[in-house]
Structure formats: structure tokens, C-alpha cells
Symmetry: C2
Subunit: 369 residues, 2 copies
């Protein structure tokens, strides 16, 4: 991976000890740790900080080359010097969500009461809890007001929730390929994924040992992965081709061997309990729709950029338009764009000039006010 | 179920012994049995027969009340006296596909060589093989020329293949919610379903005993079932509601308990090997697209009715339009309609007046010529 390049160079993931986190559901985490990375420099006025929120399977490593793994960050094309999230101007913070498995407190963390990993004894966490944990991180970094909170998919839900929970603590809000609540269809996709995991013979009510529920988690991922792509992008990439090389275990089609690879790969990097917790956070997130959504957005103060993608059938553009309408009802300034881009839900993760320009100008226009 | 009503009254499923079936792949079935039902009366001229082809999980019981199970047929609203497939005028034949598990020769059948069920030793069957088996059934019933072959989804593929394989043996062809070949996305959906089955601990390379691969097959069905519905129909039916009653095992949403029920129910009536065989037949079916499809349709002689549904994202309308275009290139008479109906891919199975009218008039107009 040494040939990988990033204008940010090498970066490292840090951990912040943030003390007690009272959860929305009433329980509490006594000693919250959040994994995070930062890029760029915080201004003396502390007015140039941007928080990046990741999606379901993301992590704190959003940009640069990781000093340990040598891996490039998941949004490196958008974050760096002269990139849309310009590290010459902004101080970018990216953190891993509470409940996740990429360094932050979650099911893999030792439960202080038992000195064993929480596993499925970890309390339910909501999108609001994720946001509250991020708020503690921001305070820990000495920042009171974020210039912007931005994210796609689940990250977009966090950005939205930030603007509702802390209306006085952010100036701008970027919501990409997201929704104010999951539809029955979106819940259904997650439900089947969760069922694949909990029906795995190794699941053991989430108290699995080293014998991981690999089959279930890989099936959940294979299935979910289809929903991240589009009909068109799969046609371009795989068509009806047979598998290439020796990777094609038990499959007669290239698309099948690709999905098998994605499933196996995912099990090596993601925890099954975290998958259950984080997908439940997604499904239970609800700012409502229509009048309910308008009421829930009535006290926001940020300025918004909302982007949807024409080929995204997992978070269809109508869900973004519902957010936009409810903001407009409240006379909140909002820029909306539906981008014609063929990569399905994953479009927001992939470099496309239109999204890059929109983010760049949205940040600049206000910063120069 | 005794309160169930059908204008056709009670019906029974018969079995026809059809001898040898040479398969497209080179192997042969020495003693083919096909389960079938008929409704209405064959005319003296034997010119009023219509063959109905079922979809992936369908069976021969398309209409009436089954004399043993008391169940109503899957297309009873379309088949019967004065219904679109009018049994006062037409002689309707509905048969179960070869490779299936609803009475026709398939993986559950005794292999004459071993006197044990074939299971996964059953040879690969294609859509063309299904059609060839149906051709034998038609001959067995003393019919040379079908007035019409009709089907939706996989049934539509069979209808299309009928018109290609036996251009002189059918007058009309009805293709509903179908495709001339599966896209990468459609293959991907089936691939994940097959992976769920073959990764089930009870799978045993398809040689499972009474311990069925229940988990895998139920997951495959849950997942597939989402693709049969639409975003809108799921919203109307389930919304974000919690499960009702005691059915909600391990799920916090009504849509989840519904899918669990569908999965469990499916395992009780469908064989996992058949699921593998029939989905592979679907994925390998390919009349091509564009010029290739036009070439493959250049010798057809039937008159076509092609219907797609606006909310069908599994077999999107563009796939029907490709069939229509290739027929038009060949100057073949074709009526096409994209019906606005919210029930997703399942729309063709559900009574909707527009589809009913189109089928009725398509059959009548020609019959009265």
C-alpha cells in the first residue's frame, strides 16, 4: 500500500477519555472513549472547526494515510489542502461513533462492572447519543461552536441531529444521501441483516467467543452491499460476466464473487454486535416527516446543504426533499441539489465534481460573510 | 379456509408421465413427471388452450379451491368464468416447472439410478428446459397449438422462450413484469439468497437429510421478499410500527416480524435445492439485449402483450421496454403498457383492473378475428 498517496500525508488516530455519557435510554456509560482524527489547524478564534460524521461501517480515519495500517482515509478525496474540506482553512475532526467497533466505546469495550467485554450487554445507543458523545469530544478539544457538521447516510442523520440538539453550536450543516427517518423498506433491509447475524450458530445471544458469527455477518454485508450500489453501476462493473480467477467460490457470476469478497472482508474488520447496535440506531432514528419533521426542525439555526443522488434507491431523493421542505417551512436557509451520478447510495463517498463544488462553495460563501 | 370462495369451485392437481426429457445441458431426465391443473373445456377444434407459467415460488395451483389443501389458487382473480382468462371460453393449463418442488420432477424426485432423491445431483435445468417440459405436457393433452402462453416474472421468461423455441405453436404471448435476461443486480439478489442456503450448517452440499437448511432458506426468502414489494407498499402496510402480538420474535418492527413469518412459512413449503436450481435457471436465462435480443426474436410469430409496473424495481420497466423495442425492430405486433400500481414486483400477482382489462382485450381482440 506504500504507493498510496494523500496530500495530507500520514495521520494517526487518537483516543479521548470523555468521562460519563448519559444515554437517551436512561442508562449510562461511565467512562466514554472516542477515537478521532484531526486534519488542519484550529484557528486562534476556534471558529474554523468542521466535524465529519461517518456512515454505518465507517471509522475515524476519514483522510490521509494511516501511520499504522498505511490505509488511505475513506473521504480522502474530499478532505485535504485545497480540497472541498480545505485543511489549509479548516480544522477537520472525524470521530468514530459510540457503539461502534473502531476504537470508540462499544460492545467490544471492557464493561467496568465485569471487566469483560460488554458484547450484547452494551446499552442501546441512538443517533442522539452518538451526537452527545461528539459534543463531549468537541468540548474536550476546546471548541464551543462548530463551523460545520457534515456527513452522508448515517453521518447525515448525525449532522441533522446536531442541528436539532445543539442549535447554537454549529453554523452550517451538510446532509448527504440521508433521511429524517428510515422507511419500512430501509428498516426491512437492516432487519434481514440482523436476522442473518442472530441466526448464525455462533451468535450465542451476542455473547460469542472467538468463533465469530462470520456467516451471518458476511451475509448481512453482502445483502447490504447490493443496496449501496445501483443497477447501472453493477451492470457497468460486472454485467453478466463469470467470476475471474480463483476467487469464485461457489458462484457462477462475477457479481457473486465480488459480494462474497465484500462479505468475508467485512467480518475481518467489523464486530457483529456493533452491526446490530448501529443498524438499530439507524432504524430508531426519527425526526418524523411532514408536519412532525417541520416541528422538530423549528428551532434549528444552521444553514443547510442537502444533497441527494439520482441513482440512490436506498436513501431515495424524496427523503432529502422532505428534509428540505421542512426546513423551508421554517424559513431556514437551505441549498438542495439532486446530483445525477450513477453510483447509487455510495455516490456520496466517491469523488464527483458536483458534490465537491457544492461543498466547497457552501463552506466558502458563508466563511467569507 | 372453508370460507374461501372461487367461482371455479374445487380443483385438483394431476400428474402427467411424459417420458424422457433431453436437457439443454446435455443430460436427460429418463422419466419426467409434470404436475398440472386445467380449468375450462378444450374446444373440439383444440384452438382455445392457454398455458399459464408460474414464477419462482409458484405452483400448478393457479385457480380454484384445491380439493386437498382447500387453498385458493395464486391467480384465481385472473382465471375463471368471465375473468380475464375466461374459463367459459378458454381451456386453461397451469403446470409446475421441472426442477421445482411442487409435484413435478425435481431435486426431491427419486433418481431412478439410485432409488434415492436426486437432491443436488439433479441436473441443471434452464428456462428452455422448463418450456420443453411444458411442450411435452401440451402434446400429452392432445394440443398442438396454444392460443396463448402467459406468465409474469419467471413465467414471463417462459412465455418469451416459448415464442422463440416454438414459434409455430402459439398465437399470443403475454409477458408481465419480466425481462429478457437478468441484470447484475438481479443476479446479485439471487446470489446472496443462494449463499445464505449453501452456508447453512445443514446444507451438506445439498445432500441434507430431515434437518433442512431452514435458516439459510428462510433468510433467502426474507431478503427476496423485500424485492417483491415496493417502498410505497411497505410504508402503507407497516410504516415504522412495532410488531403486533406475539409474532415479533427478536424484532422491534412490524416489517421485521412480517418478513420472519414469510421466511418461516416458505421453508415449510419449498425445497432449498429447488430454490438453488430455479434461481440459477433465472440467472442463466439470456435472450440478450439490444441487437442480440432483436436477433433472438427475429423468428417469432406470436402477437405480444407486454406489461410492466411503475413501482417494480426488481424487474424495472426499462427491461420490458427492451423486449418491446426488439419486437418492434422485427415488425412483430406488440401492445405495451406500463401500469401505475404501487405493489412493486408483486403487482402482476395482485388484482388490478388495468392489467385485467389489458389481458381480457388482448385475448378477445384476436380470438374474434
Amino acid at each position: 500500500m506504500s504507493e498510496r498517496k494523500s496530500t495530507l500525508g500520514f495521520v494517526k488516530t487518537s483516543k479521548a477519555n470523555l468521562g460519563r455519557l448519559k444515554l437517551e435510554g436512561g442508562e449510562e456509560i461511565s467512562s466514554l472513549e472516542i477515537a478521532y482524527e484531526t486534519y488542519g489547524t484550529l484557528s486562534d478564534a476556534k471558529d474554523n472547526a468542521i466535524l465529519i460524521c461517518h456512515a454505518l461501517s465507517g471509522d475515524a480515519h476519514a483522510a490521509g494515510i494511516h501511520e499504522v495500517t498505511n490505509k488511505i482515509g475513506w473521504w480522502d478525496e474530499y478532505i485535504g489542502p485545497s480540497k472541498p474540506f480545505d485543511t489549509n482553512k479548516y480544522f477537520i475532526i472525524s470521530s468514530n461513533v459510540v457503539g461502534g467497533c473502531m476504537g470508540s466505546t462499544g460492545p467490544l469495550t471492557l464493561n467496568p462492572k465485569t471487566q469483560k467485554p460488554y458484547k450484547s450487554d452494551f446499552p442501546f445507543v441512538s443517533i442522539t447519543d452518538m451526537v452527545n458523545a461528539q459534543k463531549k469530544l468537541i468540548e474536550y478539544l476546546g471548541i464551543e461552536i462548530l463551523f460545520c457538521v457534515a456527513g452522508g447516510s448515517m453521518g447525515g442523520m448525525q449532522a441533522l441531529q446536531w442541528s436539532v440538539s445543539y442549535p447554537n453550536n454549529l453554523v452550517k450543516c451538510i446532509v448527504l444521501a440521508s433521511s429524517s427517518e428510515h422507511s419500512a423498506q430501509q428498516i426491512a433491509f437492516n432487519e434481514v441483516g440482523r436476522q442473518a447475524i442472530i441466526k448464525d450458530p455462533n451468535w450465542n445471544n451476542g455473547l460469542y467467543d472467538d468463533n465469530l458469527p462470520r456467516i451471518g455477518l458476511s451475509l448481512a454485508r453482502m445483502f447490504a452491499h447490493i443496496t449501496y450500489l445501483s443497477d447501472e453501476s453493477m451492470r457497468e462493473k460486472f454485467g453478466r460476466n463469470p467470476p475471474r480467477g480463483s476467487i469464485g467460490q461457489n458462484t457462477e457470476f462475477a457479481v457473486g464473487s465480488y459480494l462474497l469478497y465484500q462479505g468475508d472482508n467485512f467480518v475481518d474488520r467489523f464486530d457483529a454486535n456493533s452491526y446490530i447496535y448501529v443498524t438499530k440506531a439507524l432504524d430508531h432514528f426519527s425526526l418524523g416527516r411532514g408536519k412532525e419533521l417541520s416541528r422538530n426542525l423549528s428551532s434549528v439555526k444552521a444553514e443547510y446543504l442537502v444533497i441527494a443522488f439520482s441513482s440512490d434507491w436506498l436513501y431515495p431523493p424524496y427523503q432529502s426533499r422532505e428534509i428540505v421542505k421542512s426546513l423551508e417551512v421554517n424559513m431556514v436557509p437551505v441549498t438542495y441539489c439532486e446530483i445525477n451520478f450513477s453510483k447509487g447510495h455510495d455516490s456520496f463517498l466517491i469523488y464527483n465534481q458536483e458534490q465537491a463544488h457544492l461543498i466547497h462553495h457552501f463552506l466558502e460563501s458563508s466563511y467569507n460573510k
